[in-house]
């Protein structure tokens, strides 16, 4: 049985002018020890769906569907019970750690607070554990640094403090929403390394939300691609990157330059701009930008269905033929032997 399972999740935002259909009936699941990547561009619904899972959307959001975790439907859980799940069983890290850390409390106080509240530790135990957690995410001199305030840490360290806080109660699910987007590339590598080690050692399920296909390729076993509030393709990462079947996935892969490119090839952008989320017209949302679109694509919304094998799914009436490959890869790894 899956650790977390999301069924027909739907999120709408009521604004004064219109209803925004942010997430349209998406379903997916996560097992323990699994890393799942959710990729897509701004406004595709990747962040909103995870906020919905945790029940932390603003008041004008309408959520429908089922989020099953440990036998409960989280969407139906009363607030008091949901508070216990959040932070203890399922926790989340965000893009900008500074907005989620309290600037007037020491880092130690912020970590021990969760430990004492959720795990009922006493002050000494909590201090001990907090120091261990900071060490775990690679912060040197952890015991002394507990007394420091967030501004005394650099950007990369703050993000590591956030991870330490997020894993403090040994959550079963960790949701990381663009955890490295605000960081420089060498710091990004540090954070990804920490996450990689945590998943392997603590056997937690990780949902990594990102716009960066490279980050997913390096860290996630399974990948979901979202577009305009829907899942357009999902499957094992290797399969999905080697044989993308949705024209949008292929489009994404062809539009990003690669640092290991063999020769300078002209990028192939996806024409046009994403669909307005105010309308819920029939038809595939990607059709207006899609070179593979047919009459049917414009008339009927395609559902996610298996293609090739049961794991690889695509929501498309006219999938990319197996053979229209993503941009060529160099013959051998570019890294020189040391």
């Amino acid at each position: 049985m899956a650790l977390l399972s999301i069924d027909d999740l739907e999120v709408e935002f009521e604004t004064r002018r219109a209803t925004i259909h942010a997430v349209n009936r998406i379903s997916f699941s996560l097992d323990s020890g699994e890393t799942l990547g959710i990729v897509g561009e701004s406004g595709c619904g990747k962040s909103v769906s995870s906020l919905a899972v945790l029940g932390i959307l603003p008041a004008n959001a309408r959520v429908a569907g089922r989020v099953e975790f440990a036998g409960d439907d989280l969407l139906a859980l009363p607030d008091s019970k949901m508070r216990a799940v959040r932070g203890r069983d399922i926790s989340m890290i965000f893009q900008d750690p500074m907005t989620s850390l309290n600037p007037v409390l020491t880092v130690g106080r912020q970590i021990t607070e969760t430990l004492r509240k959720h795990l009922r530790m006493d002050a000494a135990q909590a201090d001990e554990e907090a120091a261990r957690l900071l060490e775990r995410v690679g912060i040197a001199d952890a015991r002394n640094r507990l007394r420091d305030y967030p501004h005394q840490f650099s950007g990369g360290m703050r993000q590591r403090v956030m991870i330490a806080m997020a894993i403090s109660c040994r959550p079963k699910v960790l949701i990381a929403d663009e955890p490295t987007t605000a960081l420089d590339v060498t710091l990004q590598a540090q954070i990804l390394e920490v996450l990689r080690a945590l998943v392997a050692e603590e056997r937690m399920g990780l949902i990594l939300i990102t716009h960066d296909l490279g980050v997913v390729a390096g860290l996630c076993e399974r990948t979901i691609v979202m577009y305009a509030g829907r899942i357009v393709e999902s499957g094992p990462t290797r399969e999905l990157f080697a044989r993308p079947r949705h024209p949008y996935t292929l489009g994404l892969l062809k539009s990003v330059p690669r640092v290991d490119a063999r020769a300078k090839e002209r990028l192939v952008p996806i024409p046009g701009t994403p669909r307005d989320l105010r309308s819920l017209e029939a038809g595939c949302a990607f059709a207006p930008r899609c070179p593979y679109a047919t009459e049917r694509s414009r008339a009927e919304t395609p559902q996610l269905r298996p293609i090739d094998d049961l794991e690889h799914r695509v929501a498309c009436w006219n999938p990319v033929p197996d053979g229209d490959l993503p941009p060529s890869r160099p013959p051998a790894p570019v890294e020189e032997e040391r």
Binding site: E41, S42, E135, G138, A140, S154, G155, G156, M157, D184, V185, T186, L187, Q188, A189, Q190, L192, E193, V194, A197, H211, D212, L213, G214, V215, V216, A217, G218, T237, R238, F241, A242, G251, L252, L253, S255, V256, P257, R258, V259, D260, A261, K264, R266, L267, V268, P269, I270, P271, T273, P274, R329, P333, V334, E335, E336, R338
Partner: protein, 344 residues
């Protein structure tokens, strides 16, 4: 003099220090943030020089000092053979028509109350180049060139998406027919599918208008794609400069090696097999850069001698390829092994 005839821009020993002050009454000068500390390079006519590095490395400050948007503390910037520091205000203003800047967030540089036509017409008016019917025609031409739809001129910036706003910014920049465009993270705020549109547009414009680019970015894949030559900066200095092919195939500075190995590649097969050099320390403060080589505090190839005492000069190691590392030859030959700490 190193001034080759085909060089459009020549930067020599550029230094930009921002003073640190303290004290309530006496505004004491207590030190400097050495944002740029002795940078030398040239840019040939028609080429794209990529300037890469992480936050705080000084790449943006270099770009701005070239346009004299920041007054350098020391050093010289020559544009088409003219020392910009020697020009009067009026002369500088005339010269600035030939060099323009494109910013990361076009929205903040577009007046929200002007329609797009007026925004693009402004440079023509300021420099008294065109008016009336001719002005209208030239504005429309520019909007066509950057791929904005017909009728865009009558609409306002907020009606456009990020990618289209960057097009508006480019139309305005092209109005004065510049020779040099300094583009500071021009695509990093855009979604990937839109990023590719703007990168292609920049390439087309370069060919059509014979432009020289200084392309400042932190994304090494994008920089590789668009640049002919690349300068890698670390804490206010150039660590390595080389033609793009050489830099990526044969990086000579340990920082470049680490940087390249840290860039994720959208290919699970390659990601599984590649070797990563993870730099565990943090970036030192540019107000108190480490002595000797600035990178020695994080360098996996650091040696017992010289690294922490002697500043490595940027040395020519191959044709057009320079790096600032005492041990570059030994590292390349495999005589020095990197120390790779595991996850602490």
């Amino acid at each position: 003099m190193t001034g080759e005839a085909n060089q459009l821009v020549r930067v020599e020993d550029l230094k930009v220090y921002f003073p640190l002050r303290s004290g309530l009454m006496f505004d004491r000068h207590v030190g400097d943030v050495k944002a740029v500390d002795g940078v030398t390079f040239g840019v040939r006519r028609g080429e794209t020089l990529g300037l890469v590095g992480e936050s705080g490395c000084g790449k943006t400050t270099v770009g701005r000092s070239i346009l004299r948007l920041i007054e350098p503390t020391a050093g010289k910037v020559e544009f088409d053979g003219v020392d910009l520091g020697s020009l009067s205000k009026a002369e500088l203003r005339t010269m600035r028509r030939r060099m323009q800047m494109v910013f990361q967030d076009p929205y903040s540089s577009l007046n929200p109350r002007q329609n797009v036509g007026a925004i693009v017409a402004e440079p023509f008016k300021i420099h008294g180049i065109a008016s009336g019917r001719e002005l209208e025609a030239r504005v429309q031409d520019l909007l066509d060139v950057v791929g904005l739809p017909r009728g865009a001129g009558n609409r306002y910036p907020h009606e456009f998406s990020g990618g289209q706003r960057q097009r508006i910014g480019l139309a305005r920049v092209l109005a004065l027919n510049p020779d040099l465009i300094v583009a500071d993270e021009p695509v990093s705020a855009l979604d990937v599918s839109i990023q590719a549109q703007i990168i292609n547009l920049l390439e087309d414009l370069q060919r059509e208008f014979d432009l020289t680019y200084i392309f400042i970015a932190h994304d090494l894949a994008v920089v590789r794609h668009i640049s002919d030559r690349i300068a890698v900066m670390y804490l206010g200095a150039i660590a390595e400069i080389a033609p793009v092919g050489k830099l990526y195939a044969d990086p000579l500075h340990p920082y470049t090696k680490a940087l390249l190995s840290a860039v994720p590649i959208p290919d699970p097969e390659v990601e599984r097999s590649r070797e990563r050099i993870i730099l565990w320390g943090d970036l030192p403060s540019p107000a108190a850069p480490p002595p000797g080589c600035r990178f020695h505090t994080r360098c996996p190839y650091r040696q017992e001698t010289r690294c922490d005492t002697e500043v490595p000069p940027l040395r020519v190691l191959d044709i057009g390829h320079s790096a600032a590392c005492h041990w570059a030859e030994d590292i390349k030959a495999g005589r020095i092994e990197p120390r790779m700490p595991a996850v602490p």
